[in-house]
C-alpha cells in the first residue's frame, strides 16, 4: 500500500477508511522490508505502538494526526535516543524535546524512527556516520549509491516510502543535496524561521531545520507546522508564518526569475545543464520573465563556508567532554587525559578534521586572517543576493553538481567532497530559503534536482514556483 500525500492519508483517516494503528502497521512493515538500506539509527515498534495509543485519543482536527514522519537523529527526542550519528553520543537519552519535533507531536504526527546522517551533520554522503552508510533506495543491485548528506537517512526514508515526510537540517546543503540525490522535495527555510532549540549544534550561524517530502504541497504543510518563534533560541525570528499550503499558487505571470551565470561551472555534466535549461523554458512558458543575473562572489562561497562552519563547530563541539553525557573513555588517569581520550575515541575522522581546522582558524594570531576575513566575504556574498533580489523574485539553479554517486567512490580528497555543496552553500551563507525538487533524470535513470532560491522569509514564493514546476512531471 502506498500513500501519495498527507492530504490523501488524512482524508482516509477522516473517513474512517484507515486507523492510526493500521497506518503504523503499514509503515512498520515497510521499514522492516528495507532494513538493509540502513536508513534508521533508531527504530522500535514498541515506541510506535505507544505513540499510536496517544494519537488515537486526539481529535481529527489535528493537522498531522497519524501522519508518519521520520526524524533526523540530530533532533533531541524524549522517547527515542539521540546520537547525532556519533559514538560520543551513543546512549544519550535527551530529557527534553526539540522545538521542531514538539510542534510535530502537538499536531499528532507519528514518529517512525530516527534517521541516519553524517556524524554531527558533517558530510555530503551519509558516509561519516558511526552507524555505517545509508544506501540510496534508488540504487540498482550491483552498485549501491550514496543518498547524499548530511540528512541522507531522512531523504532516503521519503524516497523508500518509509514515511510521508521527514525532518532534516541544512547547514551548507544538507537538505537540498540529499533531496536531489534521492528524488524527493527538500526545503531549507530562511535562517531563523525554525527554532534550533534541541538540535545538536554544528555551525550555529548557518544551521536551519527543514523538511523532506514526496511533493511540494506536503512540504508546505509540514513547514508551516514546524516554523515559528521560540524564545529559547535567540536567533529565532518573530515573523508571522503564512498558511503556505492554502496559498499555493502556480501562476507565475509577472514573476521575474534570475539565472546566475556563475552557476555554470566547469566540469558539470551536460545532463545537469540540460535539466536546468528545461526548467528555465518551462518557467518562461508558464509566464515568468527570465533574467540573466550575476552573483559575482559565488566562487568564494565554498572557501568561506569551510572557514566559518569548522570554526563554529570547534566551539560547539567543545561540550562533548565525557562529563555531562554520552561516551567517556574509561582508562584515563587525569582530567585532561579523560577529555583527550574521550574526544579522540568518540569523534570520527571528518569531525576531528573540522574541529582542528576550526581551532586553528580561531587561534591567536590567525583569527583575523581566516575567520574575520571569511565573515567579511560572507557579507559580500549576502549582498550579491540582496542586490539581485531588488529586481527578481526568485533564482533558479541546479541543486548539485552530479546525480547520486556510488557509495564506494573514493572520498580521500576532502576538497573534492566539499565541491558537492557548490550550488547550495551560497544561499546558506546568505541565510536565504531554498528548495530542491526532482526535475528530470540522467541517462542512468537517476533523478536530478533543481533549486529555487528566494528572499528572506519568502518561502511562499519558492513553494509557488516549485508547485508550478512540479506539474511538469506529474
Amino acid at each position: 500500500m502506498e500513500f501519495k500525500s498527507i492530504n490523501q492519508l488524512k482524508s482516509l483517516l477522516d473517513e474512517n477508511k484507515i486507523s492510526v494503528k493500521e497506518i503504523a502497521q503499514t509503515y512498520i512493515k515497510k521499514i522492516k522490508e528495507k532494513k538493509d538500506l540502513n536508513i534508521f539509527i533508531y527504530f522500535d515498534e514498541n515506541i510506535i505502538d505507544d505513540q499510536v495509543k496517544e494519537i488515537e485519543k486526539l481529535p481529527n482536527n489535528k493537522k498531522l494526526k497519524g501522519i508518519p514522519i521520520a526524524v533526523k537523529d540530530l533532533f533531541c527526542t524524549k522517547n527515542m535516543p539521540t546520537t547525532a550519528a556519533s559514538k560520543i553520543l551513543e546512549n544519550f537519552n535527551p530529557t527534553y524535546e526539540s522545538f521542531v519535533t514538539q510542534k510535530l507531536i502537538n499536531e499528532g504526527s507519528l514518529f517512525v524512527g530516527k534517521t541516519n546522517l553524517d556524524e554531527f551533520a558533517m558530510g555530503s554522503a551519509t558516509n561519516t556516520s558511526y552507524f555505517g552508510n545509508t544506501i540510496n533506495p534508488l540504487s540498482n543491485h550491483d552498485i549501491p549509491l550514496a543518498p547524499g548528506g548530511s540528512s541522507g537517512g531522512s531523504a532516503a526514508a521519503v524516497a523508500a516510502d518509509l514515511c510521508l515526510g521527514s525532518t532534516g537540517t541544512d547547514t551548507g546543503g544538507s537538505i537540498r543535496q540529499p533531496a536531489s540525490f534521492c528524488g524527493v522535495v527538500g526545503i531549507k527555510p530562511t535562517y531563523g524561521l525554525c527554532s534550533r532549540w534541541g538540535i545538536a549544534a554544528f555551525a550555529s550561524s548557518l544551521d536551519q531545520a527543514g523538511i523532506f517530502s514526496k511533493n511540494v504541497t506536503d512540504a508546505s504543510i509540514l513547514l508551516e507546522e514546524i516554523a515559528g518563534h521560540d524564545e529559547r533560541d535567540s536567533t529565532s525570528s518573530n515573523v508571522a508564518i503564512p498558511n503556505y499550503s492554502k496559498q499555493l499558487n502556480s501562476d507565475l505571470n509577472g514573476k521575474t526569475i534570475g539565472i546566475p551565470k556563475e552557476y555554470t561551472v566547469d566540469g558539470i555534466s551536460d545532463e545537469i545543464n540540460a535539466v536546468w535549461d528545461d526548467a528555465i523554458k518551462s518557467l518562461e512558458k508558464k509566464g515568468a520573465k527570465i533574467k540573466h543575473i550575476s552573483l559575482p562572489h559565488t566562487k568564494y562561497a565554498l572557501p568561506t563556508y569551510y572557514i566559518i562552519a569548522p570554526a563554529e563547530a570547534s566551539s560547539n563541539l567543545a561540550r562533548y567532554d565525557g562529563v555531562k553525557y554520552g561516551f567517556r573513555a574509561e582508562e584515563a588517569k587525569s582530567l585532561d587525559e579523560m577529555y583527550e581520550m574521550t574526544r579522540s575515541e568518540g569523534f570520527g575522522k571528518e569531525v576531528k578534521r573540522r574541529i582542528l581546522i576550526g581551532t586553528y582558524v580561531l587561534s591567536a594570531g590567525y583569527y583575523d586572517a581566516y575567520y574575520l576575513k571569511a565573515q567579511k566575504v560572507r557579507k559580500l556574498i549576502a549582498n550579491d543576493f540582496i542586490e539581485t533580489f531588488k529586481d527578481c523574485e526568485l533564482i533558479l539553479t541546479p541543486t548539485a553538481p552530479s546525480a547520486a554517486f556510488p557509495l564506494n567512490e573514493k572520498q580521500d580528497d576532502p576538497i573534492k567532497m566539499y565541491l558537492n555543496d557548490v550550488f547550495t552553500v551560497p544561499a546558506s551563507l546568505a541565510g536565504i530559503p531554498g528548495i530542491s525538487i526532482p526535475y528530470g533524470k540522467n541517462k542512468s535513470g537517476l533523478p536530478l534536482g533543481i533549486q529555487l532560491l528566494g528572499k528572506h522569509f519568502n518561502e511562499q514564493e519558492i513553494f509557488n514556483a516549485a508547485f508550478a514546476l512540479e506539474k511538469d512531471y506529474e
Binding site: 536567533t235 579523560m338 581551532t359 566575504v377 557579507k379 576532502p414
Partner: protein, 95 residues
Amino acid sequence: MKLDTNTINKIAKLARISLSKEEANDLLKDMNSILDWVEQLNEVNTDSVEPLANISSSTLPQRKDESKDINSSEEILKNSPDKLEGYFAVPKVVE
C-alpha cells in the same frame, strides 16, 4: 605548507583531542590542502566591509531578562557517565 607536525599537535592539545602519529600525518596533509585552498579569499578586497555574523538580526525580538527556576538537576545529571551525590564525577584533579 602552513602547518607542521608541531603545530598540529599544539592545535590538537588546544582542542583536547589526542592524535596518534599516523592520524597527525593524515590530518597534516588534509589540513594543509584545505588551508591552501581557502587562501583564495585573499583575492577579495574586503577593506571597509563589515563582517557578517548574524543574518537575522533585524527580526530578532528581545525578551525580558528574568531567571526561571526549573529545578532540573536530576534531569541534567541523568545522562552523565559518572555522578556522585548530585555532582558530575571526574578523575582526580588535585593530588
